[in-house]
Symmetry: C2
Subunit: 284 residues, 2 copies
Amino acid sequence: MRVGFVGLGIMGGPMAGHLVSAGMDVTVWNRSPGKAEPLAKAGAAVAGSLEDLAAACDAICLCVSRTEDVRGCVEAMAPHSKPGTLFIDHSTIAPSGAVAIATDLRLQGRRFVDAPITGGSMGALKGQLTIFCGGAEADVVEAIEVIKPYTKTAARVGPSGAGQQMKMANQIAVGGALLALCECLNYADKAGLDITQAHELIGGGAGGSWAFANYGAKILNRDWSPGFTIENQRKDFGYCREAAARIGAAIPGTDLVDRLLAGLQEQGHGEWTTAALFEAYQAR
Amino acid sequence: MRVGFVGLGIMGGPMAGHLVSAGMDVTVWNRSPGKAEPLAKAGAAVAGSLEDLAAACDAICLCVSRTEDVRGCVEAMAPHSKPGTLFIDHSTIAPSGAVAIATDLRLQGRRFVDAPITGGSMGALKGQLTIFCGGAEADVVEAIEVIKPYTKTAARVGPSGAGQQMKMANQIAVGGALLALCECLNYADKAGLDITQAHELIGGGAGGSWAFANYGAKILNRDWSPGFTIENQRKDFGYCREAAARIGAAIPGTDLVDRLLAGLQEQGHGEWTTAALFEAYQAR
């Protein structure tokens, strides 16, 4: 079986690398071809086009950005792919978009699993990602086997689109935890407390979180280098808000974080990491 | 040295019990005297009045509710207490109130450490509380020695009032983490996902928190028995909001949680535990 990988960015690059390291036959493609070079050196085939990649592979992973990017890649590949080809999409896109793409592919005799990831760039480097899979049971079982080299936890969470819905829920939790961290440390700072001590004492108790443990040092050092950027976080929140409106779920906390991050983005800081939300508090 | 303990509620009762178990000479007092009985059986002396307790003790711990309760108890005790008596207040009250009480006591030749606690009723039962101490260095050192039997972590965080400021920052983090948890699981529920699976997958990743680990089961079982009540949480948030306005710290996340909890309280659910914030989302 030959596995294709489309989208070799900060996440997709290391993920494709894990497939190669696991001894799989891998063909890669990236919009800017330079990113394929390290993978070619490691033993991956590099396709000249999406069409060529599609013709060569039995399963095709994607890790691109927006709904329209996934749609564009899939539309280019599907007519050239083998019947029954399994598309596995790791991008975070609109749940409704994932359902529509899955339906289109089914009509063409191809298969689709939405499989958005969480665990960040460190998780991708270590091959320790959590992956939320939506699709038909047999397809998800097959997908989980393919993506095993970069998986910490992968689970079927429902039919097509459910993987993206779980990712939306995940981003809601991530955003809220970030809000709690930044609002707390800004308060401590304005109250004249030592915020290093506040971070340690509060993070070790009932206010603690993954965000406290992992973003604390960034805030204490005012280090806003990415990491996951404000721009990408707001892209995800856009899908969250659209999906929440469709299903009638209130997300006032997410709306609040999004507004605060929007302020930073409007000031030209879209490339800062999300922990820079602290700066939005400091400026108020 | 004889230690007094005033306020034998869900937190103070077990805390006083740990002092007795540690072999200290303890005198207790509670507004409703029945709560002193188990401590009397364990070996504590029971004072007939605050005045009697004050006259008998060298250090006096308080664990009552509001700023005015602490002020009332301290004003009743101070004139009857020995010069140099160390008052240690575990209640969560306004930082400005703690500063004022400390100043009043200093003028009377008595000492005061604000020492609010976190760790919940389980922490009190186990003697594993985190305690934020504000006051003069020598007084805090002495206070930490007295309260050792129920301490996991105790630290001086600054002068008088700083302990309460740290508690405010802590409640901001706790409230935000609760918001993230409830907003996430409500979204998952409305999206048709299995919320038990959502809780497990998301809680194990970048969205995870102490709140996910400790309140998750309550939400999955819709068990709103206290626990820390909405009424008490809103009492603390009231002090937060007042203190935040004084120091010019924006706390929009805390304001949001407080508004959502206010809705539940107005419906007569003030005695529910705070994880019932989930219900505020379900109803929207």
